[in-house]
Amino acid sequence: MNKQVILCVDDEKIILDSLRKQLKNKFGNKYLYEFAENAEDAFEIIDELTIEEFDILVIVSDWLMPGMRGDEFLIKVHKKYPRIVKVMLTGHADEQAILNAKKNAALHKCIYKPWSEEELVSTIITGMKKL
């Protein structure tokens, strides 16, 4: 079984569903896809997957979410898992937040909603090339 994972975090289920479809469309069974509705759940999944020796390659995270915001979440992730490629996907993020994520979370790229599959996929591919 494939042990490489792409994790998506967004508080909107339709977004997660959409992402699932797009990723599966493009990458099929090459990776495992995990989804979380907020940062808290995401951490839980990350820790769990890590224990089970899954390899999280990419995190695609929304910015404006209940509780912890995207930049903050990615920074926290970055501290513990600096290798993970971090992508922000958002309908709105202020400049400061993006700068913050770039500086402190080595943010790979910020994609703006509405996005295209091609944009998402190429971002993930370019991100993974760095690995």
Binding site: R20, D41, L64, P66, G91, K113, S116
Partner: protein, 789 residues
């Protein structure tokens, strides 16, 4: 010259009554807060003392000094003025008794000095044949002529007053008393000045002060013996204190003198008369003798008597009685020539040529230098200062006390008065001020109106900008709110495209007919997926997927993990037995994939609908919110919908951690200004969200309470500190850092609620803050009624 009138500065109200009655005016200085008196220009007429209704003018005499010196055993003799007889009726000889008790050694009757005075006048007449004699027992008249009419000095009788005659007589003929201090019981405050000029006389003790002293110390003269005078008695000269008393005595010697005498008294007439004497002489209309006294009642009611309010009859009764008595004594009535000769012999005994001569001093330089009349130029300048520009401005009114504008101008010129004391000036000034004020008020009103208008505009702008600020805050969230469904739409659509593309490309690979063995499982799969009614959260989904993946592994199905994911997506969580034929063979999987793709199409399509609805809802709310019109009309509005609009806009903030508890009664739409109420909810909800820092419970209730609708917005945030809760509705009050809030939010909320004839209240404690808004159900009726009124 000695000061004879004192001023109580505190009592003086600067009313100028004193100036008004003063015959010489310029001794008074009215330029300050109270009137000052220049004694060198004051003639001592005492009019001001009578006129002053504020008791600010007081007499000055030597009473206290005399009492003091007597107590120190000073050797003192007394001279009693003839007016004493009427001022202490029937008791004036007992006054001698009282004075004796104080240590006065001898008593001389000034009336005898008056007898000598007549002698001196007759000698002057005989010797010098003057055109005119102005009598001079009155020191006020002497001072007046010395200061203001020096031209008349030569007509002043060159002989001493009766008082001086008496004192000089004692010095000459009573050597035992020549070194005694001389105390004069006097009806006149000005007598003191005569002492100074002639150089004789020590204490001018006024009758007024004696009477006050006796009263204050409960001294009854009846308790003192009558003590007669030490000099020879006078005859009818005891009448000297009467107006015309001098004439009456002179008549005894020269009966026809009455025909050539002008008897005149009183400030009112005397000084005007004296001012005309020169003219009279020139016209040869002058009398030979002017028997004149400053005081209208003569010395009987002199300045130092306090008797000025009595009638002449009351006063003269006693002097006349005394005269009768004295004539009886000398037996001089009925033309008894022998008795008259005896009297004359008595008088002559005490008369000596030259002894009673009197010189006068011309003091008029003081006036010429210090009080000159203004030049025309000076007058014009002063008049301008007094705001007198035309002849009609010269009103010669009595307000200033001079009764004459030129005289007032002269006083101002010499610094003795000020323009503020001119009635016309004050009137004009007040009018000017009033006009100025009217102008000012008009100007200010105009400005205020402009300011008000400006403020109104500003307020409108502020309301607008407050709205824009709220909108600005919302924009970020709203962008997300719209872009999120757009993202879903886009990706769902791409998904549909991809699937249909795949299907279309591989259509030839599918058997048109589904093999029979797959018929049942395929139908089950599609039905299950299509009628899917269990909605799992992402977390639940994950859990289910893991458990399903395990189960699939257990029955040795390949790719259990991905298959599990797809199955769960299609709503198959537990009952996968039915579809095993579809997943345990490659052929079956082909049909499974077809089913999955078809379902994906359906789900993507559903997602699009969902996302479109969501975006539409946001756009709709945004439209409602931004459509804002203050001139707006009442609109029948569903308040629940009205509040929901705002909640939709704030959904983004709310979803982060706020639980919204709605308790809405089923209420009928009411007439309100919906856009404005929108702003109210926006403000209150936004404040609540901030107060809870995006985490907490927001309770909103809408209830019908009698004829009102009551909306409560409650949060469990930090609460409003007690010290500011009273101020939160004040305009510009804000606790937000500068630049973040205008401080107008709640002020505007209050105004909007007021416009709705409603109320807003706040109750707050940490963890429980409630804004309660009450709106009347019948706003439309209320406003219509108001309009009709």
């Amino acid at each position: 010259m000695k000061k004879v009138v004192a001023i109580d500065e505190e009592r003086c109200v600067n009313c100028h009554q004193c100036i008004s009655v003063c015959p010489v005016k310029y001794c008074n200085n009215g330029s300050g807060q109270f009137i000052k008196l220049d004694e060198s220009l004051c003639i001592g007429c005492g009019e001001c003392i009578i006129a002053c209704t504020h008791n600010a003018r007081l007499i000055i005499d030597d009473f206290e000094l005399a009492i003091h010196d007597l107590a120190k055993k000073e050797k003192v003799i007394a001279f009693i003025a003839p007016a004493t007889a009427t001022n202490f009726p029937n008791e004036f000889l007992r006054l001698n008794g009282w004075l004796k008790s104080l240590g006065v050694e001898a008593f001389f009757d000034v009336s005898f000095g008056a007898e000598l005075t007549i002698k001196s006048y007759i000698e002057h007449l005989k010797a010098n044949k003057p055109k005119l004699i102005i009598s001079q027992p009155c020191p006020v008249i002497v001072t007046y002529i010395e200061l203001y009419k020096p031209q008349l000095l030569k007509y002043l009788a060159p002989a001493d007053s009766p008082m001086m005659h008496a004192m000089k007589m004692v010095k000459e003929f009573y050597p035992q008393y020549k070194d005694h201090k001389m105390l004069i019981v006097s009806p006149c405050i000005a007598k003191k000045r005569e002492f100074d000029e002639v150089g004789i006389g020590d204490y001018n003790v006024t009758i007024y002060k004696i009477r006050k002293y006796l009263e204050n110390n409960n001294i009854d003269l009846k308790d003192y013996p009558e003590i007669d005078f030490d000099n020879d008695p006078a005859e009818r000269a005891v009448l000297f204190s009467n107006p015309g008393g001098l004439l009456a005595t002179a008549e005894r010697e020269i009966p026809e003198i009455k025909l050539v005498t002008r008897k005149i008294e009183g400030v009112k007439y005397l000084y005007d008369y004296l001012d005309k004497v020169e003219e009279l002489i020139e016209d040869e209309m002058n009398p030979l003798l002017i028997d004149c006294l400053n005081c209208e009642l003569g010395c009987n009611g002199g300045t130092g008597t306090g008797n000025q309010n009595k009638t002449p009859d009351e006063l003269e009764y006693y002097t006349n009685e005394r005269s009768k008595k004295m004539r009886k004594l000398y037996k001089t009535d009925n033309g008894n020539t022998e008795a008259l000769e005896n009297l004359r012999k008595t008088i002559n005994k005490y008369w000596k040529p030259g002894l009673y001569d009197r010189d006068y001093v011309d003091r008029s330089n003081l006036i010429k230098e210090g009080l000159y009349d203004p030049t025309e130029e000076e007058l014009e300048t002063i008049f301008k200062k007094m705001k007198k520009f035309t002849d009609t401005d010269i009103q010669n009114c009595p307000s200033c006390g001079y009764n004459n504008c030129e005289h007032m101008a002269k006083a101002i010129l010499h610094g003795l008065n000020k323009v503020e004391n001119c009635h016309l000036y004050m009137n004009k000034t007040i009018n000017e001020y009033s006009e100025h004020l009217t102008d000012l008020v008009e100007e200010r009103t105009k400005k205020l109106k402009q300011t008000l208008k400006h403020l109104k505009n500003t307020q409108d702008q502020l309301i607008e900008s407050e709205k824009m600020a709220a909108l600005g805050q919302l924009i970020a969230g709203i962008a997300h709110e719209i872009n999120t469904p757009l993202g879903a739409i886009r990706s769902s659509n791409e998904n549909i495209e991809a699937i249909t593309g795949q299907i279309l490309q591989n259509i030839e690979n599918f058997h048109i007919e589904l093999p029979k063995k797959y018929f049942k499982p395929f139908k089950f799969l599609i039905e299950k997926a299509y009628k899917q009614n269990t909605y799992l959260t992402v977390k639940e989904e994950r859990k289910a997927r893991r458990s399903l993946s395990k189960k699939l592994d257990e029955i040795e199905i390949d790719n259990g993990y991905e298959l599990a994911e797809n199955l769960i997506e299609m709503g198959i969580i537990n009952d996968f037995d039915e579809i095993i034929p579809l997943i345990n063979s490659e052929e079956g999987l082909k049909y499974f994939q077809l089913g999955y793709d078809l379902l994906s199409l359906y789900k993507s399509s559903q997602n699009i609908t969902l996302a479109v609805d969501k975006a539409a809802k946001v756009v709709f709310a945004l439209k409602r919110f931004s459509h804002f019109d203050f001139s707006g009309e009442l609109v029948l509005t569903d308040l629940i919908e009205n509040i929901e609009t705002v909640l939709t806009l704030y959904y983004n903030s709310i979803k982060k951690g706020i639980k919204v508890v709605k308790d809405f009664d089923d209420i009928e739409p009411i007439f309100v200004f919906p856009d404005e109420l929108n702003q109210v909810w926006t403000n209150l909800i936004s404040n609540a969200i901030h107060a809870m820092n995006y985490h907490g419970t927001l309770k909103i209730s809408i209830k019908k309470v009698s004829k009102n609708i009551q909306i409560k917005i409650n949060d469990n945030g930090t609460g409003i500190p007690k010290d500011i809760i009273k101020r939160i509705f004040e305009p510009f009050f804000t606790t937000k850092p500068q630049g973040e809030g205008s401080g107008l939010g709640l002020d505007i909320v209050k105004k909007i609620i007021k416009k709705h004839k409603g109320n807003i209240n706040v109750e707050s404690e940490p963890g429980n803050t409630t804004f309660t808004i009450t709106l009347p159900l019948n706003l439309k009726e209320l406003l219509t009624e108001e309009e009709q009124q």
